[in-house]
Amino acid sequence: MQFLWAFIIGGLICVIGQIMMDVFKLTPAHTMSTLVVAGAVADGFGLYDPLVKFAGAGASVPITSFGSSLVHGALSELQRDGWVGIVTGIFEVTSAGISAAIIFSFLAALIVRPRG
């Protein structure tokens, strides 16, 4: 059953993104940041974790989960280390994703010429 919900919820998040681009004419960059912020806000209200439990990768793969992870890390370090934890914790949970982006970009740049 979770496969089905992952499909539906993940698809719905993408539909929202598509509507933001096609109907509201947001740029891809604005669409992405809005979804990240939406995920962060949802996590602040404690709504994103139940969604991940319910829909699995349907909620953890889209970019909204990145926003949720930012808040998650900040909140958990806030409890452990106090206010300074907000600063140190933001990249606590997301560090794997960010480090992976840097490492794989580096590896790709070794074999192909980076250009835009």
């Binding site: 096609d22 004419k25 891809p28 010429r113 250009r115 835009g116």
Partner: protein
């Protein structure tokens, strides 16, 4: 030259002595492939950067035009050119290779006809005997500068257009048999407040309509005087808007064939990735200097009005939320009996 309103009527019969076009692989798969002088099979044009590729297209087209006219590049007295890049680097760097005195112009995609009109004016006024006019564009340089780098893989709406990879050049002089540049209408900048860079056709249509209306008002001619009137790159979204605007203005375009270079350069049924159609400096340049001139030389077309359209936005003006000012320049080409 006689000035009527915003139209130059050339008296000394400046002509296009020779022209040349060099295009990329996608234009080579289009319906006009046989009209182009050289077709590259790779989008990189065998260069390391897109900018170098765009420049090389212009360098080759200009060299080919010089050879086809039976001249050497030392005989070219002026080169009038432009492109879409910041500081028109493609034309400037190509002018470095060419070595001729250079006048850089910018009219976005209308540069093709702006440069041809100026070249005709130089020859007509006696300021020069042989002038090269040319322009170039590359799909990936334009996407990178005005939208997103193609490698980013951003989605495009159906109103988006596809920048032509190609360059077209013409040599203007007095002696020869080529089509006469009879007149040219210089456009005004029009802005109806459209801000979407993925809908250039709609933004440019009012500019095209304004220039066409001015052309017939100034010259006293009717659209029926021409066998064909083509706009530069209004594509499938902009052309119907221009038709509607002209109908409202009482210009009877039904007397002639009214088309658009952006709808001619690609196979609109098969090459669906071009969305609304072709665009860019190279679009009207390769269609005019390749396809239309060939048809005129073969006597299939006698009188043609090319109305090249340009969107005068910069990445900065767009990011600051400004609308897109547009312009169109018309050049009338006529074969003598």
């Amino acid at each position: 030259m006689r000035l009527k309103g915003q139209t130059w009527e050339f008296q000394a019969k400046p002509r296009i002595l020779a022209s040349a076009t060099v295009v990329g692989p996608e234009e080579g798969q289009g319906p006009l492939a046989s009209d182009f002088d050289y077709i590259y099979d790779n989008l990189e044009i065998n260069e390391k950067t897109w900018e170098k590729a765009e420049r090389k297209l212009l360098e080759q087209a200009s060299q080919l035009a010089v050879v086809k006219a039976g001249l050497t590049k030392e005989k070219i007295q002026f080169f009038v050119g432009g492109d879409l890049m910041n500081q028109i680097i493609s034309s400037t760097f190509a002018a470095r290779t060419l070595g001729a005195p250079y006048l850089g112009v910018f009219g976005a995609c209308s540069t093709s006809m702006e440069s041809l009109a100026l070249a005709a004016l130089l020859v007509d006024s006696g300021a020069a005997e042989l002038v090269l006019a040319g322009t170039t564009s590359h799909n990936c340089t334009a996407e990178k500068q005005f939208r997103y780098p193609t490698e980013y893989g951003s989605q495009k709406p159906p109103t988006a257009q596809y920048t032509v990879t190609g360059s077209g050049c013409g040599i203007v002089g007095k002696k020869g048999n080529g089509p006469v540049i009879a007149r040219a209408t210089i456009g005004r900048v029009m802005d109806l407040g459209i801000k979407d860079p993925f809908n250039m056709g709609a933004a440019m249509a009012p500019a095209a309509a304004d220039t066409i209306e001015a052309h017939f008002r100034d010259t006293g001619l009717t659209p029926g005087h021409y066998d064909l009137v083509v706009t530069g790159d209004l594509a499938s979204v902009g052309l119907p808007i221009a038709k509607e605007l002209l109908q409202k203005a009482g210009v009877r375009m039904e007397q002639t064939k009214f088309g658009d270079c952006g709808l001619m350069v690609y196979d609109m049924q098969k090459q669906t990735y071009v969305r609304a159609g072709g665009s860019g400096c190279g679009c009207s340049a390769v269609v005019t200097y390749g396809h239309l001139l060939k048809k005129m030389t073969n006597k299939e077309l006698k009188k043609v009005l090319v109305v090249a359209t340009g969107a005068l936005l910069s990445p900065l003006s767009y990011q600051q939320g400004e609308s897109i000012p547009c312009i169109a320049h018309a050049v009338a080409l006529e074969m003598e009996d």
